[in-house]
Amino acid sequence: MTVNESPSTTNIDASCRVPLLALFSGAALWLVVSSALAVLASLSFHMPGKFGDIPFLTYGRVQPAADDALLYGFCIPAGLGVLLWIFARLGQVPLRGGIVPVVAAHLWHLGVLAGVVGILAGESTGFTWLEFPRGAAALLFVAYLLLALWAFMNFTGRRAGGLFPSHWFFVAALFVFPWIYSVAQLLLIGAPVRGVVQSAVAWWYGGNLVFLWTSLIGLGAAFYFLPKFSGRPLHSYFYALFAFWTLLLFGSLSGIPAGAPLPAWMPALSALNSLLLIVPILAIAVIGWKTVMGGAVQTCKGGSYCMIKFGFVAFLLSALLLVAGACPQVSRITQFTWFSAAQTQLHLYGFLCITLFGAIYYILPRAVGRDFAFPRLIRLQHWCSMLGIFLLVVSLAAGGLLQGIKLHDAGAAFDDSTRAMLPFLRTSTMGLLLMLLANLLFALNLLTLLFLWHLSVIKTVVGAALAPLGKTGVKA
């Protein structure tokens, strides 16, 4: 293909096919594994005595494995896949060197496998969000670098000149992860720092990954798809840049929780920056409002557009919960309760995962050139996801508040706070079950598509015998 030839949209989509299938299918599997593990962990609150003889089913191992499988297994690879496709589309350049991102995608999923098995086997490092043992972390790092490099090369080689706000968000996300991951691995695992500095590093990493990185990816995708679906231009470039800067600056400093046993200035600095997050939240809300509302309003019909709108609202809510939870008056009650778990779940699943579902449902049929086998299930999945995350977040947040009030009341026995929480935890299991169902439906659609595509490739291969295979390789 010569440089001057303008590739058609179909060519661009097709160039992403194999890497996206590799990234998304692995991600879908991890999504199911994650919610299955989360349900398993939640069962501890229904029958706490059941798994006492089996080390790898104990709550303290299953819960972090579920969290990490969601973030590292689904959010990051799926986010990178969406990013690759949007870069290729925005820059009007096909993704080149198809084999490297495919290998990187498999390497990534292998790393997650090693990590999750490691946690269940008791090899966790003990640092929140960094539980994966050393070997798994190395695989993840190499895989991410390769994927990021390919994405960045596609970005620099783009044909359509100007920058779209999504570019800013995505390029920042590409850089953020290798930087925070290498620093955290070095200072916590490689050459560990002493004492409570470990916790400071882990909180810095956690804040930057779980809030900042996810927000950059999810908003980058939302800012691409919202104007696309609403048929109106994004409102506006400068709002988005302002949101980008303030989010990056304040979000990257907001990781240290209020009660930390660190000199007062560190939690105070993080509380200050969390408060300032109100500014980007407002700006982002305005962007969403003015892009989607007004003029001829396009209604959503239960597909990608609905999901991305839902994810966008979930972002606003979760970011507001984060700000509220950082206020000293509130954090005094909510610290050490399920409240912050509710915020994290809303952010990771309600915002990022659902946004990515919407994006993947849009992208994958185009990249593969084939419809999903069960289009009706998309709508069902959306409802299950929404209801599930709603039940989960509302029960954890309300229960967390109640638990916090009991915890903060010296007159109440500690057991009261646990007992007050139990009905809420049991309700949250229902939410988790709905999410498991939703994730199974998602995986079913996606893996059926993968299977049908494999089938068609094999048919082509058999049919054409020794004839050349076309632009895309058969390696999957």
């Binding site: 359509a160 994004l234 506006s236 007062a264 600095l269 407002l282 019909k301 557009y305 449902y361 998309i378």
Partner: protein, 199 residues
């Protein structure tokens, strides 16, 4: 495929409007910066490594250090001990070879009462003496004469309560009585005269 595919512009790439940022975003930003700045000023301890919540600053932390009662006596005693006694007996109480015997675990320190111990700084001591199994033959001036009753009581309390010593408190009134009994120019003690005193 999902319903959105039929949307008119789904094939084209999205664009961004170029309208500028309204003033109110900056106003909100500055207001929050101001409020947050006040909060940080009040609660951060301004990067002092010793200030943890719930303390707001170093002055407040300083004000809440224990300073009366037994704890304060120990603190004051430590200070005087380290400036007057520590140079020979060591800040760690294990003594220094050729200068002064140890105080940690010394049979003259961990007695039930403190009458003998109090006589040493008030009258001085010389001649051969056996401390914790080691023989010494040195002279010590009446170092305690220069200290006030309260100061000396604190020093002795500190000596009797530190480095593993677990003997009791010494009060200023007791020192005052012992000092009065010794008169203005007391005779330096020896091991024998010390042993002759009640504990």
């Amino acid at each position: 495929m999902s319903d959105e595919n039929s949307s008119p512009k789904s094939g084209t790439e999205p664009t961004a409007a170029r309208s500028h940022l309204p003033m109110w975003t900056l106003v909100v930003l500055l207001t929050l910066l101001y409020l947050g700045g006040i909060y940080f000023d009040h609660h951060s301890g301004w990067f002092d490594r010793q200030v943890y919540a719930p303390f707001d600053n170093a002055a407040q932390l300083d004000a809440y250090q224990p300073k009366s009662g037994a704890a304060a006596a120990l603190a004051a005693g430590k200070k005087s001990y380290e400036s007057v006694c520590g140079t020979c007996h060591g800040n760690d109480g294990i003594g220094k070879a050729g200068q002064a015997p140890q105080l940690a675990g010394s049979e003259y320190v961990i007695t039930r009462g403190f009458n003998r111990l109090a006589h040493i700084p008030l009258a001085g001591i010389n001649g051969p003496i056996k401390v914790a199994g080691k023989d010494w033959n040195m002279a010590m001036a009446a170092m305690g004469m220069a200290l006030s009753d309260a100061d000396l009581a604190n020093v002795l309390t500190y000596i009797r309560g530190s480095w593993g010593n677990k003997a009791g408190e010494v009060t200023a009134e007791d020192i005052k009585a012992i000092r009065a009994s010794l008169g203005a120019r007391p005779q330096a003690m020896t091991a024998e005269t010390l042993q002759a005193l009640p504990e």
